[in-house]
């Protein structure tokens, strides 16, 4: 599960196509315009490769870091049915990371290099996983609404231009659609359960609403940069469009369950068809994405520790006979 790739708004757009062969670039853009997929061995602009690596890598990191807040509830899941389902769900997320690291590797960066950039704090992952899952109901809300947001993003990106990423996303979206059913079933059970259960799920929704609103990222600045990335089908929809789509699909479902969304200003403007809401606190978003969220340090420490403790195993696998092979796309 994953939100949108974070593109630094301060990055200068001028260099994006500087120095590219204009004929090759025109051919490349024509292929994308015709709806063709770009494959690993095809010519591609430097910036296309760079942005895709960054995006797929962030997505992969989000899958393994996302396994941590949910994973802590596997050992506490109430009853066989929930325990088995949550194990399978979190396992899927780790499997998604495996698929995505492979897709990113086709662009020339190894899994080891990517994981190293994750644990040294050099590359990002989805901001939502820097918030804690306090109760079982938090894990249920994550499985429903964060996965719902992820599907909106990933269905859009699956129509992008890079073949290996699209194919990975097609499979991921199929699995995520089961997660969504799992999450919804959990939330329905709590929302229609005992007063304690209803209170648990409402409180979890209150805690998770701001991260959910942050999930798709701040409004995109309409810049040269965004325009080119959209033309290259690296970025498929604006952050605001995806947020609107999410609100349109899920706010009515939340209300149907008798739950309250903790935003008094949230309503659909019937004239424009758009949802109006209190602008999320983007300063907080920036603070958290730059490392100062409630769980950033803990998440990275857990990951670093796992890497450190597993080093001897990887060294044992890495014998003189083994050689590096880029995965098949």
């Amino acid at each position: 599960m994953y939100g949108n790739a974070y593109i630094d708004p301060n990055e200068k757009p001028k260099s994006i196509i500087d120095g590219e062969d204009p004929i090759k670039l025109a051919e490349f853009e024509a292929r994308i315009a015709r709806g063709e997929k770009i494959e690993p061995k095809d010519w591609m602009p430097r910036e296309y490769r760079k942005q895709l690596i960054r995006m797929i890598e962030q997505h992969a990191h989000s899958e393994i870091i996302g396994a941590l807040p949910e994973g802590t509830w596997i050992t506490r899941a109430p009853g066989f049915k929930r325990k088995l389902a949550l194990m399978a769900k979190v396992q899927d997320e780790v499997g998604h990371a495996q698929l995505l690291y492979s897709a990113a590797e086709t662009l020339g960066k190894s899994r080891e290099a990517m994981i190293n950039d994750l644990i040294t704090g050099k590359s990002k992952y989805s901001n939502v996983f820097n918030y804690p899952a306090f109760t079982w109901a938090d894990a249920c809300v994550i499985a429903w609404l964060i996965d719902a947001g992820a599907i909106i993003n990933q269905v859009a990106n699956a129509k992008g231009s890079y073949g290996p990423y699209c194919r990975a996303l097609d499979r991921i979206c199929t699995e995520e659609s089961f997660h969504l059913k799992y999450g919804h079933d959990n939330v329905v059970t709590l929302a229609t359960g005992t007063p304690t259960q209803r209170k648990m799920v409402q409180e979890a929704l209150n805690r998770w609403w701001p991260p959910i609103m942050h999930f798709f990222g701040p409004s995109d600045k309409i810049s040269n940069h965004t325009e080119i990335l959209m033309r290259w089908k690296v970025k498929m929809a604006t952050n605001d469009d995806m947020r609107q789509q999410f609100l349109n699909m899920y706010v009515p479902k939340i209300w149907d369950l008798g739950l309250t969304v903790p935003d008094a200003n949230l309503k659909k403007n019937e004239e424009t068809g758009k949802w109006e809401y209190t602008e999320p606190d983007w300063d907080e978003f920036k603070r958290v994405i730059n490392g100062d969220g409630p769980c950033n340090a803990e998440r990275l420490a857990v990951r670093r520790n796992a890497e450190e403790r597993g080093r001897w195993v990887r060294e044992a696998l890495n014998t003189a006979q083994s050689k590096y092979v880029v995965p098949l796309a």
Binding site: I64, A67, L68, G71, W73, I74, T75, R76, A77, P78, G79, F80, R82, K83, L84, M87, A88, V90, Q91, V94, G95, A97, Q98, Y101, W136, T189, G193, T194, T196, Q197, V302, A306, R309, G310, R311, W312, V313, R314, E315, A316, L317, T319
Partner: protein
Amino acid sequence: MNHIKELLYKMADDLLIIGHRNSEWTGLGPILEEDIAFSSMAQDKIGQSQAIFQLLHELGEQEPDTVAFTRNANQFHNAVFTELPNGDYAFSTMRHFLYDVADQLRFEMLANSSYEPLAKVSRKVKGELKYHVFHANTWITKLGAATEESHARMQTALNECWNYALGMFEASEFEQQLISEKIFEGEAELKQRWLGAISPILTKATLTIPDESTWQPHTGGRKGIHTEHLQPLLDEMSEVFKIDPTAEW
């Protein structure tokens, strides 16, 4: 019927507790592929334990959820071996090997049990366990003989596991009845087959079984006598369920 219930309880509890421990590797494995493998095995084991609790339910015990999520440590019959914390990957993998080889042999025996409901479940379970043993054998062979460090870690793990592993074969008070009614061929027979199965793999892995003069099976688990590690595991497992055991979750 008590003899059958006792047999089923110890198997179901072993699977539940080892499955729980396996699931603790989720997100923390040395490579992603091992996260996924331990999670798969955990799912199989928890599912298998549920199937056996269901057999118990058919014999008049409470619902699987109630039995699994509301008992205290002294009511559990799992081998102490299964409740020990995961330790490093060497310990977890060694336990996985020693436990799963035994379990596969146990379920192969039980596939021919005169108690047909158990025989039926066992025929399905042994098919799943084949892959667990295949996974264990691959890793034991690889890590035992790969680097100096991996060899040392695996040998240490084997030494640490050994007496606990022997405790898996703690005899039941109903042993003779189970054997004479052809329900189960017995722990002593299982232990012999187990020794025969693990030895060639450990030899291939250049690992040495501790000297027989030091063998002191760590028993007690089958009678509800556990280490200090089990109750916290159960408290964690039942934390949400116990908020309201009568609610639907």
